[in-house]
Symmetry: C2
């Protein structure tokens, strides 16, 4: 991977600065590989994310509830949902109890697509195969600690 060659060539002010760059590289690497799995199904990572959230919930969720469960806090949920509606992977119905809300449900077509994608789950997990179990745990610990700032 040329990214890696790149990052090793560069000079850094500190290990902390290198860690920032490294985090960005690693995120980009992860996204690139994620897209490889999803592209053939004409699905973006965020669309996939929302589909999984809806299936996991097992009941209709409002746009706000979806957003709160998404990885990107600030995601433009209503427009992503609209794209999923256009692809007929989800349905949108105004909530009768509170008509400000929209009940979003995964459709049969959406469920079928996820079933197909479940097949990829193991290759998907294998993305991080270079780390063994304990290294993955270690990484999780460091990232948690990293983010745990007071602000």
């Amino acid at each position: 991977m040329s990214l890696n060659k790149d990052i090793n060539q560069r000079k850094f002010r500190s290990e902390h600065q290198k860690a920032m760059i490294n985090l960005i590289y690693s995120y980009n690497w992860l996204m690139e590989n994620t897209r490889k799995h999803l592209d053939q199904y004409d699905l973006t990572p965020q669309q996939f994310n929302i589909l999984r959230i809806l299936r996991g919930a097992g009941e209709p969720l409002s746009t706000l509830q979806i957003r709160q469960r998404m990885l990107d806090k600030m995601s433009d949920t209503s427009r992503i949902v609209d794209r999923l509606v256009k692809k007929e992977l989800v349905q949108k119905v105004v909530c009768s109890a509170d008509r400000r809300l929209v009940d979003v449900t995964i459709s049969d077509k959406g469920r079928e697509l996820l079933t197909i994608l479940d097949t990829h789950e193991s290759e998907w997990d294998a993305l991080l195969k270079n780390l063994d179990q304990s290294e993955a745990t270690q990484l999780n610990g460091l990232l948690d600690k990293l983010r745990n700032s007071q602000d």
Copy 2:
């Protein structure tokens, strides 16, 4: 940070899967904090990135050379450069030796802006203050290993 609460509440298939989610969270956290520093100067992370690359180069760079030094391989360099031109932070001149190329140079105004931003460098580094030196090194090692896949 509510992100962290979130990630600890969730159930994960494996430490590897958690590490993926954790990487995404951490990247988003980093970007959010980066933007906080740049917003007051009406600069995006990518624009800042290009300005630093140009100053660091010490000579005019072509659009392609800039892109090759950027963190995001696929970045839309020519349009970002155009926005910097509009802000008068860089200049664009067609290269006389090879008229396909465009020589991009940081302007005095751009240089002044970076000088101001240099002031923030220490707070900037302090973003990762929760990790000590050896933890940062450890994180770098794990991220390098993570990405070092064959494909």
